[in-house]
Amino acid sequence: MSIATTQKKGFGAVLWDYLTTVDHKKIGNMYIAAGAFFFLIGGLEALIIRIQLIKPENDFISAGLYNEMITMHGTTMIFFAATPILIGFMNAIMPLQIGARDVAFPFLNSLGFWLFFFGGVLLNLSWIFGGGAPDAGWTSYAPLSLQSPGHGVDFYVMGLQLSGAGTLMGGINFIVTIVTMRAPGMTYMRMPLFTWTTFVTSILILFAFPALTVGLFLLMFDRMFGSAFFDVALGGNAIIWQHLFWIFGHPEVYILILPAFGIFSEIIPAFSKKRLFGYTSMVFATFLIAFLGFMVWAHHMFTVGLGPVANAIFAVATMAIAVPTGIKIFNWLATMWGGSITINSAMLWALAFIPSFTIGGMTGVMLGAASADYQYHDTYFVVAHFHYVIVGGVVFGIFAATHYWYPKMFGRILHEGLGKLSFWLFFIGFHLTFFIQHFLGLMGMPRRYWVFLENQGLDTGNLISTIGAFLMGLGTIVVLINVVYTAVKGKKVSGDPWDARTLEWAIPSPPPEYNFKQLPLVRGLDPLWIEKTEGKGKMTPAEPVVDIHMPNGSIYPFIMTIGFFIASIGFIFQVDNNVWLLAVYFGMALALGTMVVRSLKDDHGYHIHKEDLEREAD
């Protein structure tokens, strides 16, 4: 089967291949492609928000539509753009970094992707079928989310529930993969930092997402089945939603930023030609951030009225996170210090990340001071802060990873000139957009407001911010052009175009479906670099050439997801008409029935035979 990869396939065959694939690399590509699609949608929504705010008392869009825009921008960017693109890179790269042939549960991997994708589709269908998109903010606080008319918030609940289940599966899968499938000699303390952050991120997903699931269930029952968990008039408590949401929501921001930290910890050593400074402290800091990340969620709720004791505890815990993060910043700087630095597109994003993220970190400590937070709360200062950490950290990380790993994933290298152009457009646009928002916030401009009044000193700042947003849009378009250009005319590259250090560069680009013909023997941190310094240049095999066991592709994950998707639509509309319950029954029957079939039918996979492997030239 592996031999046939070179021959051309028809469109139908390719489509079927992707619908049924359980290959971690193809699933990774799909995660990234789908995430990029949602990133563009979220970006368009951001531009519409900025056009509305370009001048005082603008009426580009109505107040109601504005609420839908801010809600969908936030929800799309966090759940359907940033998270899946990072999970895509984890899928595509992490198994290669630890010398594995696939993830531990390839079937589950596919199911996770389709659940995420259809969750995103469901959420965006609300524009057409929901009588308006969700409009209660990405945090969807009760009781606002209970009052919201139409089906918008119902789509939010079911869409996030679907994709949340998918993300949880992905997290469990990565944990098991890293614990059980490392190549011979790949001890924990020899794992690359991106693998480490994938591992810690997966643990965060495992512990944080259940809180979201519970919160969404309660909200679903309140909205659809007449319960009163958040209804104060009937003895409920609206604050419970805020706690559940942020118990999930704060670890979620570390779920986003830790993989980005991992990406930079790969790129900076590779282009500084030095081993990562303070590897052990980097691992330790990653764990410390994850640990503290679970004890700070109420800093989103300082003004709720938790009382001075609770506020003080959460303020101290919040500021403590600056310590491990600072360790990381200094380690990156020290890695570059005295290194032989190459500045290309990937490295540019990494270099720009350090000051940008540090600004976001500092405003984070400012916001963490509970008493001062009463002044900042719900102003543009907060908006500026979290865009500095999420764009300046996560999005820069995603762009850096795109430039760094594109050759590994597709065998072609992105155009340097276009890469640099997109970087400068986006980088300048980013700081134009968000730096000024700190001051807009300090001057008292509240977030999520549809309009602002003229002559309050907010006019120029908002105009600058909008101009910056368009530059970011241009930068993103240049990245897209770069990808298309590279697909058509890009330069083909060898397995190791960057002269890099870690295991993924020891195999051809793009990797064959079995990744490693023979599992490599890992002799230390940066295993490929060790072999290079000792003059060998390639990995020593840890096993003879033997038959490779591969999992079969399967359409079941797709069918199960369709089932849950239909059931979700049924849940949303059964409020209007009981007939929709038929969709619930049919969808659940389809999904559960497919699970039964999958459980009862044995599928032992197939083998790529030794003779075929030997025939392939390396």
């Binding site: 614990v179 495992l206 809180a211 604050i239 419970i240 118990i247």
Partner: protein, 107 residues
């Protein structure tokens, strides 16, 4: 190779010994767990005041969960460090949540 063949009886008898020990432990924990369950029911049946009965039953439950994980699910054996760490991490998160809900919201 010869050496291994010669030693195989020894290995077998060692393995047998191990299995026997393991079985003994399994049976002891099993009996204890049954006993704990009986005690829990007896406490309720005896009409002990709730303020004593509830903590007592909870303690019995926690010990039973421990037996379950460590003996029946082999967490005491080698190679279970990562699952153990993850379980304790999850317990930690759950305690934090319960503590917050109890103190901040419902106090």
């Amino acid at each position: 190779m010869n050496n291994e063949n010669m030693n195989i009886d020894k290995i077998n008898s060692f393995q047998k010994q191990q299995n026997k020990e393991e079985m003994k432990k399994q049976i002891i924990t099993f009996v204890l767990m049954i006993a704990f369950t009986v005690v829990a029911f007896a406490v309720v049946a005896s009409g002990l005041e709730a303020i004593y009965a509830v903590p007592l039953i909870l303690i019995l439950a926690v010990v039973q969960v421990g037996f379950q994980f460590y003996y029946f699910m082999h967490m005491k054996d080698e190679g279970h460090e990562v699952p153990a760490a993850l379980i304790y991490g999850g317990i930690w998160v759950a305690i934090l949540v319960a503590l917050t809900m109890a103190t901040i919201i419902w106090w």
